[in-house]
């Protein structure tokens, strides 16, 4: 059933010619016949693929057979399963089913998606897969002290509406701004049409004839964009994290969130690579933080794929951190700071950007506006760069490294030293002369970079981390 909806969505481009009135008048009959035929074929195909989609569990393996014209057999041993996600989007909510995803550590293609499963079945299947997996892991390497503790599940945290609103208000408005900006730019032509229809002014003419009117229009747009991005950001954040619930199951955590699309993810202690805490001034005011957790994955994790826990407090961070790292939360670190030279690197890009904007405005609105905007933007960028440099540092201790970054916001990433895959030192042409280096730390979920450390420090850290990796006996993914 889900399949059908998806296929119709995929083929929607076939109906695009309908938008042209010319084609609509001449070929409407053919289009309708084609459409019906397509629909029938889709229906048949979907039904067949539904009949052929079969999975079962045998021994310690999960088997799946699917396909219409050719069959694909997939066979996953339980101990290769990395992650199980249960999702529910709007259509699935209507049909009262859930989507079930199995992730493996392979190169991405081995992922299994079951599109419609009743919730009870999904939970039962998940229980079986996870339980057996835990057993097989425990029996395999007993030295990793993974005693099969009784699986007690307690709700650690439930995001109530008040706090959800705070999360929305303190989100990064730049994301919403980008979205709105693109939207408005694409709609600009359209808006212009409306304007000229209703108010009978030609924007093109207005630009050049009347400076203050132009300024008014621009100001209006800026205010509009800011207000719209505010609402878009707040609403999209609320929709995303609606009724966030974190449940602790033994050492692992289950996370559930989303308004239109309920997402259920498992944070496995052994798979956790990077633990990220995000703060910004507004969040500090509300006394909340965001936590993002990256797990071992076959692809470089984008921000979207990280498991986000919005609106948690220090108390909950302590619990999370403690159970994922076996360490108490505020850790002591020996810190190494980025050199102030890092600011030059940041400023080069920013200055180029502000020069481009300034020059553009200079040609358009004259020297006064161009210069003014250039100075303001440069000052703003200098401030951001300065903050970025000041916040950029790395801290080490026996068990964990902390990568500290951010500009207006603050971002702290924690990685267990034994989970690091490899370390690299990068020095560009300029750094080779002034004895500085960038440190890149690779984990199973991607790479993290610390910019512009002193060469000697970077080498020491690399050697130390490498020693830590090679002398550790703990499993890392």
């Amino acid at each position: 059933m889900m399949d059908l909806v998806k296929r119709i969505r995929q083929n929607v481009y076939a109906f695009l010619p309908l938008l042209s009135s010319n084609i609509r008048n001449n070929y409407l009959d053919y289009v309708i016949i084609g459409f019906v035929a397509l629909l029938l074929l889709q229906l048949l195909y979907s039904y067949k693929s539904y009949l052929n989609f079969k999975f079962h569990i045998e021994g310690q393996r999960f088997f799946l057979r699917q396909g219409v014209f050719k069959f694909t057999d997939t066979d996953i041993p339980f101990d290769r399963i990395q992650n199980i996600n249960i999702n529910q989007n709007l259509i699935q909510q209507l049909l009262n089913v859930v989507g079930f995803e199995i992730e493996t550590a392979g190169q991405g293609s081995a992922e299994i998606k079951i599109k419609a499963l009743s919730r009870e079945n999904a939970n039962a299947l998940k229980q079986i897969l996870l339980e057996n997996k835990a057993q097989s892991v425990a029996s395999k390497d007993e030295e990793t002290e993974r005693s099969p503790t009784p699986q007690t599940s307690t709700v650690l945290f439930r995001l109530n509406l008040g706090r959800l609103l705070k999360v929305g208000l303190s989100a990064n408005y730049l994301k919403g701004f980008g979205l709105v900006f693109v939207f408005i730019m694409t709609l600009f032509q359209y808006i212009e049409d409306i304007f000229s229809n209703f108010f009978e002014i030609d924007l093109e003419k207005a630009y050049f004839s009347n400076f203050s009117a132009t300024f008014g229009v621009i100001l209006f747009f800026i205010v509009l964009i800011i207000i719209a991005s505010f609402f878009v950001t707040v609403i999209s954040t609320i929709v995303r994290y609606f009724e966030l619930k974190i449940t602790q199951v033994g050492d692992d955590f289950e996370v559930e969130y989303g308004l239109f699309k309920r997402i259920n993810q498992v944070i496995k202690k052994s798979k956790t690579q990077v633990f990220e805490i995000e703060q910004n001034p507004i969040k500090d005011l509300f006394n909340i933080k965001n936590v993002y957790i990256s797990q071992a994955s076959s692809q470089e994790l984008t921000d979207k794929k990280k498991i986000g826990l919005a609106g948690v407090t220090n108390n909950e961070i302590e619990i999370l951190f403690h159970s994922l790292f076996n360490l108490s939360y505020p850790q002591e670190f020996e810190r190494f700071y980025s050199s102030i030279r890092y600011m030059f690197r940041l400023m080069i890009r920013y200055v180029l950007l502000s020069v481009a904007i300034g020059l553009g405005l200079l040609l358009w609105q004259g020297i006064a506006v161009g210069l003014l905007v250039f100075v303001v933007i440069t000052a703003l960028f200098s401030f951001i760069s300065y903050k970025t440099v000041k916040k950029s540092h790395v801290g080490l201790n026996e068990n964990v490294i902390e990568i500290h970054s951010g500009s207006i916001h603050t971002n702290k990433k924690y990685i267990s030293t034994h989970k690091i895959q490899s370390v690299a030192i990068k020095r560009n042409w300029y750094q080779q002369r002034n004895q500085h280096a960038d440190l890149v730390i690779y984990t199973a979920s991607g790479s993290e970079r610390v910019n512009y450390l002193k060469l000697e420090e970077a080498l020491n850290i690399a050697n130390y981390l490498n020693y830590k990796v090679e002398s550790s006996v703990l499993s890392w993914i």
Binding site: S297, E300, S422, N428, W429, Y442, N463, Y464, N466, I477
Partner: protein, 172 residues
């Protein structure tokens, strides 16, 4: 710094990767790289010249393109000629070290125990010079994968054997 050293072992006594004597990759690889950039230079300039003669590019288009091409190629020639002597790999008991790059000098340390599998590859041009590329895969995302190009048969086999041996010991 002092406090840190007391807490752990003396950081200065750790084995230092930067002191490892690196083995250069095969000299024939330099020839391959030179052939590649000469090929691109000849190709791009002949395209530009053909365009100029056939459809007469306007002056403000021709010179900037020429300039960009010259800058791009001088950078890549510098990178190859100056960077080649820096392409070195080192093997230690527990890890493999690879360094390369003129404009951005990169040194990577990859512990054997984090290696998932190894692959020896050979393209057509490499075949003509009997060179190999050793690709080392790590778990998870491909960000940490390491590929060492321009090894001769002997080095490639030795490296692979060493990695497999170390991985074997580790698994026991």
């Amino acid at each position: 710094m002092l406090e840190f050293q007391n807490k752990t072992l003396d950081i200065n006594n750790l084995p230092r990767f930067e002191q490892v004597e690196g083995h250069p990759v095969d000299r024939a690889y330099l020839k391959v790289l030179r052939i590649l950039y000469l090929f691109w230079i000849v190709l791009m300039f002949s395209i530009l010249m053909t365009l100029e003669i056939l459809i007469e590019l306007p002056q403000p288009a021709f010179y900037p393109i020429l300039g960009v091409l010259i800058i791009l190629f001088s950078f890549s020639i510098l990178e190859v000629e100056k960077g080649f002597p820096r392409k070195k790999f080192g093997i230690r008991e527990k890890d493999i070290i690879f360094q390369s790059g003129y404009f951005v000098f990169t040194q990577t340390i990859l512990p054997y125990k984090r290696i998932q599998h190894v692959e020896i590859k050979q393209g057509p041009l490499f075949k003509a010079f009997s060179l190999f590329t050793l690709k080392i895969y790590t778990a998870g995302s491909s960000a940490g994968d390491l590929s060492i190009a321009g090894l001769n048969k002997n080095d490639a086999d030795k490296l692979k054997a060493q990695i497999l041996k170390a991985a074997d010991i580790d698994n026991k």
